[in-house]
Chain length 82, copies 2
């Protein structure tokens, strides 16, 4: 399943929720495990970029950072104000 | 299937390719279809932020922008230099 298929599925599942939402996912797959992880630092900078286009309230941001071996995934879920 | 499950699956599938990779996905789900789409403008700014942490060559960036109804998805796939 490609990413696009995933998002299409997701969209249909949540079509009844009439909220404007933004989801940002950064996945970093490294060749070795001992490199520094810059995803936590990226998080604030990515939000700052997006804030140039839409206003985002701190309380509407959900952040999840997951590490699994040499793969780190940063997921930001934002509900935009109506 | 959650995003994390997806990435775990993907990781196993591609474990034999020893390349450092970065994937950035921005999905914007809007309540109405006629709002301006800022994802194309976001693209360059997101790459500029990531370039603070790693060097990225233009030729190693693959960009895909998909629209499906009121859902826009920007996908950036970057192969990092070894």
């Amino acid at each position: 399943m490609s990413f696009f298929d995933y998002f299409k599925t997701k969209k249909q599942n949540t079509a009844s929720i009439a909220k404007e939402r933004l989801q940002i996912i950064v996945a970093h797959e490294r060749t070795t495990r001992n490199q520094p992880d810059y995803l936590p630092q990226l998080q604030q900078e990515l939000l700052d970029v997006i804030r140039k286009y839409v206003s985002i309230r701190e309380e509407d941001i959900q952040v999840q950072l997951d590490k699994n071996g040499n793969c780190s995934v940063l997921e930001l879920n934002v509900t935009l104000p109506e």
